[in-house]
């Protein structure tokens, strides 16, 4: 039986992880789990710790481990520490030696995807057999490649065998945010449900909810949700980035937020992108000049 399914032992810890409740994952009591589920639970806990920024500790902990799962975790930790090449190397090794391991697939897909090797990541992930984690990752990678069509297909396929699972709902919402129209509202409902129920609420879902509201044009609501998120966790880059976008969208001055984003996450895609565009602007602007300079 799939331990992540509704009846499985890991359903709760797995859901915590994907709802972005990383602390709950770390604190999850794994003592009662059956032996075959201990390792997956441990991997989840380690991933949660990486997500919480404790990559260094995690790396130390899995140093020298021989299980492919833990080696994959170490690659993830390396990645989050910025050692992309090392991480990719580890994963490429693992992919050839233990490519059928579900955890290796998922972590490998994450590492490769984050390292910009989307094609490889998808190739690795598509070996999965009924893993929703893999489905979600594939969906996201497709979306990153702007292949909404393929993402949609992926989700629709998963929807058939995993009716109402959290990950399918999430993945569908991600796709929905690309499709727009009514789908915005549906995505909003998914995230709102997660964000507003105390047992599932996390900063991730709160920010996601706010993003939906922003797309729905409900700027006031989006703003209050984002401010709430920033208050909750002042160093959460996504909250700041989206709040920044929102501030610009309503025609206000974003300087302060830009500065705090620079402080929290200097390498955030928003900043990098803006930097790049700024150069592009300067370059493009030089092609034009008045006939007579004053």
């Amino acid at each position: 039986m799939d331990p992540y399914s509704a009846e499985g032992e890991l359903i709760n810890i797995h859901n915590h992880f994907h709802q972005g409740q990383y602390q709950e994952v770390v604190d999850f009591d794994t003592s009662a789990l059956s032996p075959e589920n201990t390792l997956p639970a441990k991997v989840l806990a380690l991933r949660a710790r990486v997500a919480l920024g404790q990559a260094q500790d995690v790396l130390a902990e899995v140093q020298g481990a021989s299980e492919p799962e833990l080696r994959a975790v170490s690659a993830l930790a390396e990645l989050s520490l910025g050692n992309t090449d090392a991480a990719v190397k580890t994963i490429e090794e693992l992919a050839s030696s233990a490519g059928d391991n579900q955890i290796v697939q998922v972590l490998g897909g994450t590492v490769l995807g984050a390292a910009g090797k989307s094609e490889e990541a998808i190739a690795l992930l598509s070996q999965h057999s009924g893993s929703l984690d893999a489905v979600a990752l594939i969906t996201q990678l497709h979306l990153q490649q702007h292949r909404t069509d393929l993402a949609l297909k992926e989700v629709a396929g998963a929807r058939k065998w995993a009716q109402d699972s959290l990950l399918v709902n999430l993945a569908e919402s991600w796709v929905g945010l690309r499709l727009g129209g009514e789908k915005y509202q549906q995505a909003f409902y998914v995230f709102e449900e997660l964000a507003q129920a105390p047992s599932t609420s996390s900063i991730v879902s709160l920010v996601s909810q706010a993003v939906c509201e922003l797309h729905l044009g409900r700027v006031e609501e989006a703003q209050s949700a984002l401010e709430q998120a920033v208050q909750k966790q002042p160093d959460y880059a996504e909250a700041i980035a989206n709040l920044l976008v929102l501030t610009v969208a309503v025609g206000k001055d974003p300087t302060e937020l830009t500065n705090s984003l620079k402080k929290v996450s200097p390498g955030h895609p928003f900043l990098a992108d803006l930097e790049e565009k700024s150069e592009l602007f300067d370059k493009a602007a030089t092609k034009f000049s008045p006939k007579v300079s004053a």
């Binding site: 069509d149 922003l214 797309h215 976008v245 610009v248 928003f270």
Partner: protein, 1222 residues
């Protein structure tokens, strides 16, 4: 008694006296037997006579349909009983035996029996299968007027002029005839004969009860369908109700009211009602419990002879002296209303219930309306008020009444309405959350009432108002017999009127923009302002309608659900076996109420109308989706498409090569045409293809066609005109092979091959011509050899004078390598998508292809290959896309289909941002898409923008607001999503980005700030703000044409302010007042500038400030004349008293000495504008340059410089104009 409104006549026929009636149990048919010996078969729904059967001699009185077989039986005054087939339309056989008129005939409900009653005083039972008489029941001692089987039990009831009603037990007969028997035929005959003759020991049919009570003859009798009741009608004008048990029978009650012979009677199939008719020309309805009259219906001249009930549906028919009428007793349309996802309706039991479309669940009873109106009259309409959760119910009883009731919070069972408010009125509807309108047709008034039932206002509607409907906020739709009015409740007047006859219902679309007006046979679609959009006519009655979310109207007739699009296209969605009232369409489900007021869900296939809708809306993606996912291929669709002018789409459906060829030619799709022509390979097709291709300029296809047709001369000419030298040479060779000298000559001429020509002439012995040619080209040797061959010397010849030898011009461009610029064919998205299919592309990849098709400037979509490969490389404009011709072979059209590598899954797609740039010609959208360079190009083209540095912050602002970052899977970077301003749009070809600081924002924030700086005299800030506004508007998008005008106004205004403020700032820069006053030069300039400050067209209060400033400066410098003019202008403008006061003071002071001390360049009477660069006047009439964006004016010498106002555009560079709305 008055005819009640309850009875609704559905059909009437005109004929001679109708004596017998029978309903078909399933079809809308009625059989009528006439006194004139004819039997008619009517379709009462369509109102058409289907058939006539005339074989009886004399009146036909008895008639009945068989329940399941296509049979009917009739009995007439010719003593005959005839059994007919309505399929073969023939009488199958005749049962003879009665010795007098046959009064009634009926089929048994399950056995193959017929019962007949006759004036010969017998009742006979016949077996219609073996066509024999099986029982004769004797006992009545006068004419038997009616005899019927019991619907379930083995009983027969009969009525006779002997004043009795008899009940017979026929269980013996059933036993005898239906039990399996091993008796021989002879035995059976013997036995039946024996019993027939046995007068007293008759076990087949025994009289069970004799019911006596009528004191005249009894005309009709019938059983209750379920209960042990009998009703009879007699010449004593009474309708009697009887009851029986196993052992006895007795009279229950009498219904008195007919004042002439009662001729027919029956029990209502479902309700506790009795219907009777009589020679007093009335039909009467009685309550069978209370035995009181419920209603009656009177005809002027016709006596009623017979009445019949439909076995299943709520219909009755009565025969009278001049025909038949089919009617029902009450409206069956359940009162209902839809609010969001809930349907509220009133059941037959008069319970208010709701139905949730999402959960597909019916609520328990919310409210009981038993006490509303009379027991037998159902409520007519229901109006729901979501704010107060109350309902407004109207009922036609007592000349119309309404009731306002609050629904209980939780429907927990049948609650009787409490604290209801009621009143008189024919229609009552909610018009606002706390107001409702009540129409009283008799007094012709409409009252608007509040929720405590107090009349808030009252007015007279247009004459003849019959009904009212909600007409959008604050409006009513008022229905008169010939028109519909849109009535403004506040202004108490009709604001629009549309002539539509007999509107009965109004159905609003979900978005409230359109309404459907339903009349009996017409549907008229109108906008919310009552402008007619379309109208259609139905021969069958229209019952109800509801709107699809996409703006398709679905309506139901008696037997169909149909659709109509806004443009009037309509069609059938499905057939109905029973009438329903549509309330909602959602996807493939149609929700409706049936006549029993039960909510039902019907499944429909919306493909056809969705397809047509997407065709109308040109939503090709949707169409493509439909084509791919459903089997819509039908001749009707193809002809529809062709008719509607979409041959290219029809093309996709057609398999038949000939048709495909025709369509391909029609839509100019040469590729398909070529393919089909190849397949069919007929000269006629090739020649048509050649003509068409020539018209397109596609000479390669032309070439192929000519090749196929072996039109060598045309080919040669084609090669000549395309400059294909090598092919011409080959043509020459071919001509040589063919031995066709003319062709050879022609080719040689085309090729400019003189030797060839000479050779040719020689071959055909045309030496003179050969000589001439050689001579003309100066080929002396050749001349000599010719002379030698012919043995003639040059002196013997007289040659004309030669000019210069002509040689065919050499082609400059190798046209043959590619097609001429081909005629732009009607390339739809559609074809591309389907072409894409050939290349294994998925639908979702289409965006790239679409833009190629619909992009801004690819009118010339040349060459099949360019088109196809363009699907992948949108910008590929190399002309190498032309066909690479092989040497000898005709161009291979097929090669196009394979030369594009298939883009299988994987690889990156184009992001939404890319789409924005493709979807929009607006610079702002390109900026949001991150395509800065194209945005700059656009701005440069539109308004001559050249200096982009000041726009950088605006560019970055727009770009920053274009994307959000959605945290998705842990470990991966956030998912980027694109913020749209088109929130409801999902079509990737139409999505557009959000542009921050839109027009409204600018007008309500930045502009006000700008005004504030003016008032506060912070001009540096002001200039910055107004320039900011200009920059923000330069890269912006608005949502309508009218907003474009507003934006232009704002641009002009911001420009004027910038100029004005700059002038004043320039003045202040001249130096401190003391320095200026000390220097005449500066003083002059200062005065001039202060005067110019008053020129730009800024808001009047602000102009006053400028004028005040100028006036004060002028009067201080003793320039009284100027000061006077400023003062006059201030006074003319009016406004704040303080300013006017000082103006008056200055005026009086200046009028004493209206002279200027300092001569300045300011003519108060001249018309001029201010150059924004030099701040000097540009007098009207002199040439000037302006900024294409903000309209600021410059002296001509500033042409080519950057505009000082917007700081972006080049002065005097005229562009196509700023685009803010596409």
């Amino acid at each position: 008694m008055q005819a009640s409104s309850g009875m609704l006549t559905k059909f009437e026929s005109k004929s001679s006296r109708a004596k017998g009636i029978a309903f078909h149990p399933k079809r809308p048919w009625i059989l009528v037997s006439l006194h004139s010996s004819t039997i008619q078969l009517w379709d009462y729904r369509m109102g058409t006579l289907i058939d006539r059967f005339e074989e009886h001699d004399g009146p036909v009185r008895g008639i009945d349909f068989h329940k399941t077989q296509p049979l009917f039986v009739s009995g007439g005054d010719d003593y005959k009983i005839k059994v007919w087939s309505y399929q073969t339309r023939r009488c199958l056989f005749t049962l003879n035996g009665h010795l007098d008129y046959v009064r009634t005939v009926f089929f048994h409900h399950e056995l193959p029996w017929i019962i007949s009653a006759s004036d010969d005083q017998t009742i006979r039972i016949w077996n219609w299968q073996n066509r024999s008489l099986i029982c004769t029941m004797t006992g009545h001692n006068h004419y038997v007027m009616c005899a019927q089987f019991h619907p379930k039990e083995d009983l027969v009831v009969s009525a006779s002029l002997d004043q009795s009603v008899r009940v017979w037990d026929i269980s013996g007969l059933r036993k005898k005839h239906s039990a399996p028997t091993s008796m021989s035929f002879e035995d059976q005959v013997a036995r039946s004969n024996a019993q027939q003759t046995d007068m007293f020991g008759n076990t087949d049919a025994m009289v069970k009860f004799v019911l006596e009570g009528h004191d005249r003859g009894v005309n009709w009798v019938s059983f209750h369908p379920t209960a042990p009741h009998i009703v009879s009608a007699g010449d004593d004008r009474l309708v009697k109700l009887w009851r029986f048990s196993e052992t006895k029978a007795w009279e229950v009650d009498t219904c008195r009211g007919h004042f002439q012979n009662a001729s027919g009677c029956l029990f209502h199939p479902h309700q506790d009602l009795i219907l009777s008719c009589g020679e007093d020309k009335t039909i009467r309805v009685w309550d069978s419990q209370k035995r009181t009259a419920v209603q009656s219906f009177k005809r002027e001249n016709d006596r009623f002879w017979v009445i019949a009930a439909h076995p299943e549906i709520n219909l009755f028919a009565a025969g009278h002296d001049n025909g038949v009428m089919v009617f029902k007793l009450e409206r069956e349309r359940p009162a209902s209303t839809v609010h969001q996802n809930n349907l509220f309706f009133i059941t037959k039991e008069k319970h208010v219930r709701s139905f949730d479309f999402q959960k597909n669940a019916e609520s328990p009873t919310l409210l009981s309306l038993k006490r509303l109106g009379s027991a037998w009259v159902p409520p007519r309409t229901l109006s729901y008020n979501p704010a107060e959760r109350s309902v407004l119910v109207t009922s036609p009883t007592d000349g119309g009444s309404y009731e306002l009731i609050n629904l209980p919070r939780d429907g927990s069972g049948a609650l009787d309405a409490t604290d209801s408010k009621r009143g008189q009125g024919n229609s009552a509807i909610f018009v606002a959350r706390n107001r409702f309108a009540v129409l009283n047709t008799s007094t012709q008034t409409i009252d608007i009432k509040d929720l405590s039932n107090n009349t808030a206002r009252s007015f007279k509607p247009p004459i003849g108002t019959t009904d009212i409907y909600f007409g959008g906020t604050g409006n009513l739709l008022i229905i008169t017999p010939a028109a519909v009015h849109l009535y403004d409740i506040q202004q108490k007047k009709s604001i629009a009127e549309l002539a539509v006859n007999g509107v009965k219902y109004v159905v609003w679309s979900n978005d409230g923009l359109h309404a459907a007006l339903l009349s009996k046979h017409n549907v008229t679609i109108v906008t919310k302002t009552l402008e007619q959009v379309s109208t259609l006519h139905e021969t069958i009655r229209i019952k109800s309608a509801t709107w699809d979310d996409a703006g398709v109207l679905l309506y139901s007739t008696l037997n169909h659900i149909k659709y109509t699009l806004m443009n009037g296209d309509n069609g059938i969605v499905r057939t109905l076996d029973q009438t329903v009232y549509l309330v909602r369409v959602k996807g493939r489900n149609v929700y409706c109420l049936d006549r029993a007021a039960k909510p039902k869900v019907l499944h429909i296939d919306p493909t056809e109308y969705r397809f047509k809708l997407s065709l109308v809306k040109r939503n090709y993606e949707e169409m493509l989706h439909i084509i791919r996912t459903s089997s819509l291929v039908g001749q009707s669709i193809i002809s529809y498409l062709q008719k509607k002018g979409y041959p290219e789409i029809a093309l996709q459906f057609v398999q038949d090569p000939t048709t495909r060829f025709e369509l391909a030619i029609e839509c100019g799709n040469l590729d398909v045409a070529v393919e089909m022509a190849r397949e069919l390979d007929r000269p006629k097709l090739w020649s048509r293809l050649g003509t068409e291709a020539l018209a397109h300029g596609n000479h390669q296809v032309v070439e192929m066609a000519y090749q196929k047709l072996k039109q060598f001369d045309k080919l040669s000419f084609l090669y000549l005109s395309t400059g294909d030298h090598s092919k011409l040479a080959r043509m020459a060779k071919i001509a040589e092979h063919r031995g066709d000298f003319t062709a050879r000559f022609q080719n040689a001429l085309y090729l400019g091959e003189v030797e060839d020509r000479i050779q040719l002439f020689k071959e055909v012995d045309l030496y003179p011509l050969a000589y001439m040619t050689a001579k003309a080209h100066g080929l002396e040797e050749e001349c000599q050899s010719i002379l030698e061959v012919t043995g003639v010397t040059e002196d013997q010849l007289t040659t004309p004078k030669f000019g210069t030898a002509s040689a065919p011009p050499k082609p400059v461009v190798p046209t043959y390598k590619a097609n001429w610029p081909t005629k732009a064919t009607s390339q739809s998205f559609f074809e591309k998508a389907l072409a894409g299919q050939l290349e294994g592309m998925t639908l979702e990849e289409e965006p790239a292809a679409e833009t190629n098709g619909f992009g801004l400037d690819d009118a010339a979509d040349d060459g099949a290959v360019a088109k196809r490969s363009g699907a992948l490389e949108a910008d590929d404009d190399e002309d190498a896309a032309g066909w690479d011709l092989g040497d000898d072979i005709a161009p291979e059209a097929d090669s196009d289909f394979v030369n594009v590598e298939s883009a299988e899954a994987g690889g990156s797609g184009s992001s939404e941002a890319d789409l924005w740039a493709r979807n929009s010609p607006l610079a702002a959208d390109h900026i949001a898409a991150g395509s800065f360079e194209s945005a700059m190009n656009l701005l440069n083209r539109q308004v001559g923008a050249v200096n982009f540095a000041p726009l950088k912050s605006r560019f970055m602002e727009i770009y920053s607001a274009s994307k959000t970052y959605l945290p998705a899977s842990a470990g991966l970077p956030p998912l980027v999503n694109y913020v749209r301003r088109t929130l409801d749009e999902t079509d990737p070809r139409k999505v557009l980005p959000l542009i921050p600081r839109d027009l409204e924002h600018l007008a309500s924030n930045d502009l006000q700030q700008g005004y504030d700086t003016m008032k506060a005299n912070k001009l540096e800030d002001g200039v910055r703000i107004f320039k900011g506004i200009l920059h923000a508007l330069l890269a912006n998008a608005v949502s309508s044409e009218s907003e474009v005008a507003e934006a232009k106004k704002l641009i002009t205004s911001a420009g004027e302010y910038t100029v004005a403020m700059s002038i004043e700032l320039a003045r202040r820069k001249l130096g401190a007042p003391d320095t200026v006053n000390g220097n005449p030069e500066l003083l002059k300039r200062s005065l001039e500038l202060s005067a110019y400050f008053t020129i730009p067209k800024i808001e009047v209060p602000h102009r006053q400030l400028a004028l005040l400033n100028a006036m004060n400066l002028a009067s201080r410098s003793k320039n009284y004349s100027s000061a006077l003019s400023f003062a006059n202008r201030i006074l003319a403008n009016g406004g704040a008293n303080r300013i006017l006061e000082s103006a008056r003071r200055v005026k009086t002071q200046c009028e004493r000495n209206p002279h200027d001390t300092v001569e300045i360049e300011y003519d108060q009477f001249a018309e001029f504008e201010i150059c924004a660069a030099s701040h000097t006047p540009i007098y009207s009439g002199t040439a000037y340059e302006e900024c294409a964006f903000d309209g600021s004016k410059y002296h001509q010498k500033y042409k080519g410089t950057v505009c000082t106002v917007c700081e972006v555009c080049e002065v005097g560079k005229h562009g196509s104009g700023l685009k803010l709305f596409a």
